[in-house]
């Protein structure tokens, strides 16, 4: 059920787009309205989630982040894993965002004979890295539909991605890697019993959506081709706020677009929001300088200070009466 429901939902979304175009001819809805709504949901939702997280309580700085903190001069500090300066925090964050440092530390506990042993487990890290970098290249490549003229760096990226010159239109290397990585990430959740038991429908749904978008895109490029010039005309219409529907673009394009819109609209309200959440992770974004800087609780009320001397002065008589010693004497 955990797999069947999100799979059915993804197929239903593809079916809606197919039926809406093929049977009902709702070109304006799927070509203009849905993309704008999806973009609005994406931007508003993303900012809303950021602000909501920003307004929540911030924990105290976390000193135990897998590295020696700054201590006595003869104790060697791990400046990236446990930084005491802003530069170190930026370095740690870059390592996290670009290379998934904390996933790299992933371990697996196994029985070696009679003993329990902890071994390194890099496959998840590798699969995630391949997927995310492929995704970045794919998204950047799509910018060619939204910019006129196409900037030279984008053309260079595309040339590099199609370096192998297989077939026509030429095969993109990232199309291959993104399909492999997504398949791996899905199979991992099904085959490993513990991961399977941990997986929820909202883990599978983004995977299926992404696979659906990629499958429709790959089908459109290599098998059921569409008029690319007309597609760009529609894309340019959207970003110049003069949306148009160009006739003669195949249904597969609308399926691809609708699934992509569903993904984009769903993004801020789902686990995919880790994209924005990573920069708000308390173990990643705070310098461990508690030993050198005094951090005052930001939401403490500003109470007037009432010192012991003042207290003693106020209750002097009563204290003397019961025989309590006074500092002032």
């Amino acid at each position: 059920m955990k797999i069947a429901v999100p799979l059915a939902l993804t197929l239903a979304l593809a079916g809606i787009a197919w039926a809406g175009i093929q049977l009902l001819g709702l070109y304006g809805l799927f070509g203009i309205v849905v993309p704008y709504v999806a973009l609005a949901s994406f931007v508003v939702g993303f900012v809303y989630r950021l602000v909501k997280w920003g307004r929540s309580a911030v924990p105290f700085r976390i000193p135990t982040t897998c590295g020696q903190q700054k201590s006595l001069p003869w104790v060697k500090q791990n400046k990236i894993e446990n930084p005491a300066s802003t530069a170190g925090v930026v370095g740690r964050m870059l390592m996290e965002v670009l290379f998934f440092r904390s996933l790299f530390r992933n371990t697996k506990t196994e029985k070696h004979g009679a003993n329990l042993g902890v071994g390194s487990a890099k496959w998840l890290w590798f699969g995630a890295l391949v997927f995310h970098w492929s995704m970045l290249v794919v998204v950047l490549r799509h910018l060619r539909f939204f910019l006129e003229p196409v900037p030279a760096p984008l053309a260079a990226l595309e040339g590099f991605d199609s370096l192998l010159q297989v077939g026509l239109p030429v095969l993109y290397i990232t199309d291959l890697t993104i399909v492999c990585a997504l398949t791996f990430l899905f199979v991992r959740r099904v085959v490993l019993p513990r991961v399977r038991s941990l997986s929820l429908p909202n883990d599978f749904f983004p995977l299926f959506l992404l696979l659906g978008v990629v499958a429709a895109g790959v089908a459109m490029r290599y098998f059921v081709r569409v008029d690319v010039e007309a597609v760009k005309e529609m894309a340019m219409g959207l970003v110049t706020l003069h949306p148009v529907v160009v006739d003669g673009v195949g249904t597969i394009f609308y399926v691809h677009l609708f699934l992509a819109c569903a993904l984009v609209a769903y993004f801020p309200w789902s686990k995919l929001m880790h994209a924005g959440g990573v920069v708000l992770s308390p173990t990643r974004n705070m310098a461990n300088n508690s030993r050198s800087v005094r951090h005052v609780n930001p939401w403490s009320r500003d109470l007037p200070v009432h010192t012991y001397a003042e207290y003693e002065e106020e209750f002097k008589d009563k204290m003397v009466k019961v025989g309590l010693p006074l500092d002032a004497e």
Binding site: V47, L50, G54, L147, R225, V226, V239, V279, P298
Partner: protein, 129 residues
Amino acid sequence: MHKGGRIIAFAAVFCLVVLSPFIVNLANAAPAPEASLDTPTINALSQKECVADAAYMRDNHMQMLDEWRNDVVRAGSREYESASGQVYEKSLDGTCLECHSNREEFCDSCHDYAGVQPYCWECHDTAES
């Protein structure tokens, strides 16, 4: 909001990046190009007909060229019969560019617009470019 300034700055950068295609295109909105069929050879034709219909060619011309290349180079098959029964030579220079001799207005205009860099021209039609 604790360190609200930084969070708002991050949200602003995010919006700027996501909406950058809108911002960049505010100034210029280039119209889509129209592939020109105005060449002496096409104008001289009594019946203006390509090797396949225009809609098919718009979507699939690259695949046809790829198939033609493989047929000629690997199988030595040089003849292509169109749907109307007309027989053409499978040749980019000899057939396609014979009629569409205006490469810049026909091929390149759409390829540039869509950001496609076909490697046909590394061997073919080098004299004119």
